[in-house]
């Protein structure tokens, strides 16, 4: 149900005529729902801008939030949504910020006039759609945020670093799922080739738990590295993980394990040292 052009201009006039009263009531309503997490001045600035946005959209002949005349208003609402999403507000709190305009408008209306009530229903419908638009924008912003973070996490969490001549290390941090394990595995093996390093240390100090699947991934990486002519040492196995490994009946076979990254590095340096002396 779209606004008629008469209703639209009456709404615009109303917002303009009661600019301060509506703005103050609106700000107060939002402040109550956000419980002080945004400063009053910040909120006031936002509501003033939004109010102007509504006003100029309606004055420009917008009958629905999807109209061309409301493009500016939509952009404002999108910005508000993504800002709120990034600040950690819920979708509810964000949408209510728009819906609160209804209460503010109700306060300044002349309740005696039955025509005013009909107008109010039409105004409300317009604000509802604006609120739903905000809700959608919020969800979109959140999804983008999550996708970005997931990608960053995958990049951040799988560094392969050169520790010593011929020694590279992967400090694994966080939960290893199948997809991540595959990324780690490929990246480690490629680094071995690129750097010509015959030793790799896989440090699992930062891995909270090891299940059969994770252990299998680590074992496969070690076997693949050996097929290529490189040796892997696993370091940072915590006591409870050692318990799990044994309880699950996972065979680490003859794979070298060390309790810390430092021990593993010392072990490797000793190995490379003896090899040099042999020559």
């Amino acid at each position: 149900m779209a606004l008629s052009s008469d209703e639209g201009s009456r709404f615009a006039d109303l917002l303009k005529g009661h600019e301060e009263a509506v703005g103050a009531a609106w700000t107060e309503q939002i402040a109550a729902t956000l419980r002080g997490r945004l400063s009053h001045a910040e909120l006031q600035r936002q509501t003033t801008e939004l109010q102007k946005g509504f006003q100029s959209a309606l004055a420009g002949g917008a009958q629905d939030i999807g109209d061309d005349a409301a493009a500016e208003l939509r952009a404002q609402l999108s910005d508000l949504s993504s800002a709120r999403a990034r600040q950690g507000f819920t979708a509810n709190e964000t949408a209510i910020s728009v819906f609160a305009l209804k209460d503010a408008v109700l306060k300044v209306l002349d309740n005696g006039d039955p025509n005013v009530l009909r107008d109010y229903v039409a105004f409300s419908a317009f604000i509802d759609r604006a609120g739903l638009f905000t809700f959608d924008s919020y969800v979109r912003a959140r999804e983008e945020l999550i996708a970005d973070q997931a990608e960053q996490l995958l990049e951040l969490s799988t560094p392969v670093v050169k520790l010593w001549d011929g020694v590279v290390a992967v400090p694994l941090v966080g939960t290893l799922d199948s997809a991540r394990a595959q990324v780690v595995m490929e990246r480690l093996l490629q680094t071995l080739v690129d750097t010509g390093s015959p030793y790799a240390i896989i440090d699992i100090t930062g891995v909270p738990a090891v299940d059969t699947q994770v252990a299998q991934h680590i074992l496969k990486t070690v076997v693949a590295a050996r097929l290529m002519g490189a040796d892997c040492i696993i370091s940072g196995i915590r006591p409870q993980i050692a318990q799990t490994i044994v309880a699950l009946g996972i065979e680490f076979g003859d794979i070298a394990t060390k309790s810390s990254l430092a021990d593993a590095l010392r072990h490797v340096i000793r190995l490379t040292g003896t090899k040099r002396q042999e020559r």
């Binding site: 595995m185 010509g196 390093s197 015959p198 076997v223 097929l227 076979g253 042999e278």
Partner: protein
Amino acid sequence: MERVPVLKIGDILLVSIQDDMEDQVALQLQEDLADRIVATGSHGVIIDISALDIVDSFVGRTLATIAGVSKVLDAETVVVGMRPAVAITLVELGLSLPGIRTALNVELGMEMLARQRAAEEDLGIDEGEDDEPAVTVP
């Protein structure tokens, strides 16, 4: 039928396998290498597979046979340059290339052979971990 060239560098034979070897070519290489080891008195064989984008069970078996035959003829075989994707696939396939020693590249492979010769010449020195098969299946 095409043949895989066998190069002699010092007392090492170097073979660089090119992409997509037919089965017959692989079998021919197996024979050629045995002949060349005896003819040249080489003590080491390096097989570079960095150009291979797959190693299936047939190629795997050929490599294992070459290593076995060379060993009998007193030459150590080192397979070098296996690509990561190939290694991951071999692990999934369950092919562990028992008895084959591996190195990341030709240079490291030559070092490995040199180290071993030196150890053998220093009478009585045990090669220790170097004597283990390249891979043990977990």
